[in-house]
């Protein structure tokens, strides 16, 4: 039986993302069955579940790479269910991919630049002329790129340029490297920086922590908390339970295309159905999922030493 956990402070009226009863079938296999979830602004929402639970399919539905058979997806008040992926992105929806989708022939900073310039019309002379030898401008000369810090919130990342975005994800000095030649961990950060470059209001992260070592994961968690504190809504798919439990404000558990539980990390940790889904039928007697300290809600100013 599906147990519906009452949504704590989860109301559709304020939500950035509202997924309502979305269903997707691949041939005879049901990937998602009437899945609903909300993502509130300024929070990190976790989406966990075993492999094949439908997490990436749900991400594809939200970002427009998969059309659902039923159900609707709203970004703020806009129904985006049938909208093309690039139009959703222009409304402020960014994502990363579980299997990396980098622009491999481009350098790390060019990857980010493509994101930064996504609203720029290439045929306008003022942009074309940067390619003309005697008019070369620096990469930071964009004047109309979205600023992640809009509206500037205390402690949010004021990342308006390529270099600052790369700094923000810990890739300073590596902007000139061809992204295909980077290790998985670094490549994931390039993807994250590129997603941030479009100035998202909603950020979908598909296993950003895989391929990262412990200290990198910790830094990632901290970065996500900062972004959320700046007002961004983040939906996080992640297998690293320590990371999920420590930074998420709300968690949905997906199993066989169904939301089997939702709630705060504490509620999820002690939920017997979740334990069954993760640890098998013997779960109720098993160890509870790891407890983790909540992150400090006060956010450090700027980006440590690298911010101005």
């Amino acid at each position: 039986m599906v147990r519906l956990v009452p949504l704590v402070e989860q109301t559709a009226a304020t939500a950035v993302l509202t997924v309502s009863e979305v269903a997707v079938r691949f041939g005879g296999v049901s990937a998602l069955t009437d899945t609903s979830l909300l993502v509130q602004p300024g929070t990190v929402t976790g989406l966990i579940g075993p492999n094949g639970a439908g997490k990436t399919t749900l991400f594809n539905v939200i970002s427009g790479l998969q059309t659902p058979d039923r159900g609707t997806v709203h970004l703020f008040d806009t129904d985006i269910t049938a909208m093309k992926p690039h139009r959703r992105a222009r409304l402020g929806l960014a994502r990363t991919f579980q299997r990396l989708e980098l622009f491999g022939s481009l350098t790390a900073s060019e990857n980010v630049q493509v994101g930064l310039e996504s609203t720029v019309k290439w045929w306008e002379w003022r942009h074309l002329r940067r390619a003309v030898p005697w008019k070369r401008g620096s990469a930071s000369a964009h004047t109309n790129v979205p600023d992640v810090a809009q509206p500037p919130a205390p402690g949010s990342l004021a990342l308006a340029t390529c270099d600052r975005l790369l700094e923000g994800v810990g890739l300073e000095g590596r902007g000139g490297q061809q992204s295909a030649a980077m290790s998985t961990g670094l490549a994931r950060m390039v993807e994250l920086a590129r997603a941030l470059a479009i100035g998202p209001k909603l950020l979908l992260l598909d296993e950003p922590g895989s391929g990262l070592d412990e200290s990198e994961t910790a830094a990632l968690g901290e970065l996500l908390c900062k972004l959320a504190a700046g007002g961004m809504a983040i939906l996080l798919v992640e297998h690293d339970m320590d990371l999920v439990m420590s930074i998420c404000d709300h968690i949905y558990v997906l199993d066989f295309g169904d939301v089997i539980a939702s709630g705060t990390p504490d509620q999820i940790r002690s939920d017997p159905m979740v334990q069954a889904a993760y640890l098998g039928e013997a779960a109720p007697s098993a160890e509870p999922l790891p407890a983790a300290p909540r992150p400090p809600q006060s956010v450090p100013d700027g980006l440590g030493g690298s911010a101005p």
């Binding site: 790479l65 998969q66 690039h86 992105a89 929806l93 960014a94 991919f97 299997r99 990396l100 989708e101 980098l102 622009f103 491999g104 022939s105 481009l106 350098t107 493509v114 994101g115 310039e117 996504s118 609203t119 290439w122 942009h127 940067r130 390619a131 003309v132 030898p133 700094e167 923000g168 994800v169 810990g170 890739l171 490297q177 061809q178 295909a180 961990g185 670094l186 993807e191 997603a195 479009i198 990262l212 200290s215 990198e216 994961t217 910790a218 830094a219 990632l220 901290e222 970065l223 320590d242 439990m245 420590s246 790891p290 983790a292 300290p293 992150p295 400090p296 980006l303 440590g304 690298s306």
Partner: protein
């Protein structure tokens, strides 16, 4: 009524012929993931071999069929898979297209060497005689073709859906690694797919040969398969029953149009309409096929991207190049090579070089394939000749704009689909224009279309030196433009689109718009090149812009390096030199060249051993050197106070 029935029976027969060709395409594509552009050429070789055996050496028909289908086609298919295709796993998406095109030009080249094209070779019906049914005459040959097509479709359907091998054959494209884990060799399945595809192609060629009333023409037989493209597209390159039904429908539609509509149009337009029909059907099919879902493929480019010259470097190189051209113009001002002045040949090299540059932009940067750049050249030359009597700068502009518009129209129906469909559309377009528009004496005029030298008030480009330098100047400008575009945000977008369409869309960029834009720009460049080519040659005719030379040229650029400006120039130079020295060798050179290059994305210029660095040019910015920050601290640097997350 009896007329209608007669047309219908003939339409079904023609459709059945298309069905055999189209299902052959679908079989190879579903089992190997490669669209075999050489399908028609295989059929052509089979038809000629059949003629050789049955008509020339009087081998019994059944024995000939066994020799050709059971032994010839299957061995050839297996060899092609083993030697050519297996090496291409993981190569960029356009490379299998190029290699099958290479195979096509090799086969047409070999056919021309073995079977002298000037001899007429007519294959008779396999079964003679006819019978009357409800008042109409039906030939046994028609019944045979329809019957064979039905039997083949039913057998393939049964093979794919009712046998274990069939399931494995379909699975091999989706996930070869998964298939390997279940104990089936994906390579073997791929090989079966190619064997089946070759057998189908050979069967189609042999069955359709008697319909060629003027004898087996190498080019016509090779292009016959284009008629099946629309059907294969309606079947989305995977459904054999849908493909079959669509082929019958197309056969009927074509026959009704030819029977009921064509007699009422002026006689001079008939060949144009006949040749335009396949492309009309193709475009209808493209529009009706549902959009292909964007997939996150997880593909990561591992090839090192060639360094893009900076603005200053390219300017210096451009000036040096033009200076060398001036030296050439002075030194060779009166030299004649085989009846043509060196400078006229140089003008051809430069104008073809601009076509090469358009391919660098289109294929090298954005990964899309166009097989009709020569057709755009032809249209450009036509516009140039018709505007202000030829030779005006306005003509150059008009040629560029008209071709860009035509290019946009061709690309538009394919933007919702995979890049392969664009290659198909351009192939069909090139085939239709070569056989219809360009072949029409009313359009190019009998004896060709005259195009005057460019006239600018106060400056004369009447002599070969000035003309050569003018075309060279256009080439240098086009090269600077392509490099400038690559450095601009448009260039970054093209490369990004090629690397990951899914990511491209999810950062807010419109895939369709970018694809149409780059295709239109490339088409416009080819149009400009055609107009300039016309001013160099003085007179152009249909033989200047045929489909096969166009494809061979694409292969030349790929062989040298489709991602660099120098590749475009060297391709053009070698193409023109070889076409003067050994015209028939062009196809063989291109075909074997592309096979040798294989999956190397950078072509000859990309080979590491051939790389050299000018001492004053800085090293590649993409090199990993100079980075000292360890991976360990990379992300830790984000926050001042690192917090334990778990």
């Amino acid at each position: 009524m009896s007329n209608f029935l007669q047309y219908t029976v003939f339409g079904v027969m023609v459709g059945a012929g298309y069905a055999i060709a189209a299902t052959g395409l679908v079989v190879t594509y579903t089992t190997s993931g490669v669209f075999n552009f050489a399908q028609g050429a295989v059929g052509m070789i089979a038809a000629l071999s059949y003629w050789e055996l049955v008509s020339a050496h009087h081998v019994p028909v059944l024995l000939a069929l066994v020799i050709l289908l059971v032994f010839g086609a299957s061995i050839a298919g297996a060899l092609v898979e083993r030697v050519l295709m297996r090496r291409l796993h993981g190569a960029s998406t356009e490379r299998p297209v190029m290699v099958t095109l290479g195979l096509m030009v090799i086969l047409t080249g070999v056919a021309a060497l073995v079977w002298n094209p000037t001899t007429t070779r007519q294959v008779g019906n396999m079964v003679n005689g006819q019978f009357r049914l409800v008042g109409i005459n039906i030939q046994y040959q028609e019944v045979l073709i329809i019957g064979v097509a039905l039997a083949v479709a039913a057998a393939l359907r049964a093979l794919f859906y009712s046998t274990r091998t069939g399931h494995a054959l379909r699975a091999v494209v989706d996930d070869p690694e998964l298939l390997a884990m279940s104990g089936v060799s994906p390579n073997r399945m791929s090989q079966y797919g190619w064997i089946l595809g070759f057998m189908m192609a050979a069967l189609a060629g042999i069955l359709l040969a008697p319909t060629q009333t003027t004898g087996i023409n190498i080019e016509a037989m090779t292009l016959l398969v284009v008629n099946g493209y629309a059907a294969a597209i309606v079947g989305r390159l995977k459904s054999i029953p849908v493909t079959f039904a669509a082929a019958i429908g197309i056969g009927l539609a074509e026959n009704y149009i030819l029977s009921y509509i064509v007699p009422h149009v002026p006689q001079t337009l008939v060949p144009d309409i006949t040749n335009a029909l396949p492309i009309v059907f193709l475009f209808i099919a493209l529009v009706t096929v549902p959009a292909v879902r964007l997939r996150a493929a997880g593909r990561l480019t591992t090839v090192r991207a060639p360094r893009v010259a900076s603005g200053k470097e390219s300017l210096v190189a451009g000036v040096v190049f033009f200076g060398l051209a001036i030296v050439v113009a002075i030194v060779f001002s009166h030299t004649v090579f085989r009846g043509t002045t060196i400078l006229a040949l140089g003008g051809v090299v430069m104008s073809l070089g601009i076509v090469g540059l358009s391919l660098v932009l289109l294929t090298g940067y954005s990964g899309q394939v166009s097989l009709c750049q020569f057709s755009f050249m032809g249209i450009g030359a036509f516009v140039m000749g018709k505007i202000a009597g030829g030779g005006s700068l306005l003509g150059l502009l008009a040629a560029t704009l008209v071709c860009a518009a035509v290019g946009a129209l061709i690309a538009l129906p394919t933007i919702r689909l995979r890049d392969l469909y664009l290659a198909l559309a351009t192939f069909a377009f090139a085939s239709a224009v070569t056989r219809g528009f360009f072949a029409d004496g009313h359009i190019y005029g009998n004896g060709g279309l005259s195009i005057g030298r460019i006239i600018v008030p106060g400056v004369s480009f009447g002599n070969d030196n000035a003309e050569f330098l003018l075309v060279t100047a256009f080439f240098v400008l086009a090269a600077l433009l392509v490099l400038a575009l690559r450095r601009s945000l448009f260039g970054r977008r093209l490369v990004a689109l090629n690397d990951s369409p899914a990511a491209y869309a999810t950062v807010g960029l419109n895939i369709g718009f970018t694809k149409v834009a780059v295709f239109a720009i490339a088409a416009g460049m080819a149009g400009l090149a055609g107009a300039l080519y016309g001013t160099v040659q003085g007179v152009v005719g249909q033989t200047d812009f045929e489909i096969f030379p166009g494809i061979i040229f694409v292969l030349f650029v790929t062989i040298w390096s489709i991602r660099t400006v120098s590749g475009a120039f060297l391709a053009s130079l070698t193409y023109v030199v070889l076409s003067q020295v050994w015209l028939n060798g062009l196809g063989l050179f291109a075909g074997f060249g592309i096979i040798l290059i294989g999956r190397a994305a950078g072509g000859i210029l990309g080979i590491e051993a051939l790389q050299f660095q000018l001492p004053w040019v800085k090293r590649s910015a993409t090199a990993a050197d100079g980075v000292t920050a360890g991976r360990q601290g990379a992300i830790a640097a984000v926050g001042g106070e690192t917090r334990a997350a778990g």
